[in-house]
Amino acid sequence: MDLKKFGKWLKSLKNEGVEHLPVEERRAFLKMGLKVTGVFAGGTILSLVSKAEEVFGAAPEYVDKFPYKPHYSMVLITDRCVDCQLCMEACVRTNHVPPYGWRTKIFERRLVVGPQQYERQFMPVLCNHCNIPPCVRVCPTKATFKDKKTGIVRMNPKKCIGCKTCMVACPYDMRYFNEEKRAVDKCDFCWESRLSKGETLTACAAACPAGVRIFGDLADPESRVYKIVHDPSRAIWVLRPETGAKPNVFYTIDGLG
């Protein structure tokens, strides 16, 4: 096949995207000396992709598979949020977050609810502790890792070389460079400051006066997070599902509008 024909054939292939290719397959693919470009030529890779779809599926299917115990998760009942920022204040106090940094933020958006009618909605965001965390994948020193027991995406500041690649990789912009630590810092579901010391709630969930932040074990059918996520009458969504990161932070509303 001459180069022109090859190019034509390459262009005719359907782009299936790289988002749904799991890390292991990516690694295997890279080991074969090929580049992940978004175009998969040949039967092998195509079948790998479809198998990945079977295993991980779309958002509503994967919520029933919880590899961690406890599988820490947070549900944000976003229309209860009034942006009082008590969660942010508690987080800063508990985890010594500097004024230029953040482990959680609150965003604001204006929803159209009728002609010339708008509704304010606040949206708290924190590390989504993804099942397939892009930040962990890109870290060259394994300074950031997924805790094998709890699934929490944690940091080992001693290993961090400050390359900030994880900050770019994070789909949620929930990482910042901490000048004092000389390392990237992020939400660890208060693992170091609270959970490892026997507390059951994160500082933000404990501080919220409006019952927005529901924290718990998604592997426990008795927990509130499990019940909310599996409530068929509720709309449950995740932020930026297209990245394929499979987050463990879920959003819903109580319908207070």
């Binding site: 949020c81 009034v82 942006d83 009082c84 006066p209 207070l256």
Partner: protein, 130 residues
């Protein structure tokens, strides 16, 4: 004697000028929105909306539900959502009957820290222009 009469007349006249006894034509109210920052940041109250749109008059809320002086209610320990649900403060009207219930449409009044900062920014810009 004449001087006394003159003085009394002057006082009465001054009082009449200051506050007409009958038919207060237009009710005056603060144009700037009232911002509550306790117990949470931040809640907005717009006099204009409640008077022009909802048709309330001063004495519908003052002085029984709220003192005239802004910020007085905030100092009370019971100035919270629970009291509103019990019909105190804003909850006297915001009960789902006269106006939308206090446990609904949170962000209509709760503008948050972000909304508060935005309002402060606007006043700063205004002051700058003066």
């Amino acid at each position: 004697m004449k001087r006394w009469l003159f003085l009394i007349l002057l006082i009465v006249f001054a009082f009449a000028l200051y506050q007409p006894l009958w038919g207060q034509e237009e009710e005056e109210y603060p144009e700037e929105p009232i911002i509550f920052t306790k117990p949470v940041k931040a809640v907005v109250f717009d006099h204009k909306k409640h008077i022009e749109d909802a048709g309330l008059s001063c004495d519908d809320c003052h002085d029984e539900l709220f003192e005239m002086a802004a910020g007085t209610a905030e100092e009370n320990e019971d100035f919270n959502m629970k009291s509103l649900y019990e019909g105190k403060y804003c909850g006297a009207c915001h009960n789902g009957d006269m106006a939308f219930a206090s446990n609904r449409k949170c962000t209509t009044c709760h503008i948050g820290v972000l909304g508060w900062q935005r309002l402060q920014g606007e006043t700063k810009v205004k002051e700058h222009h003066h």
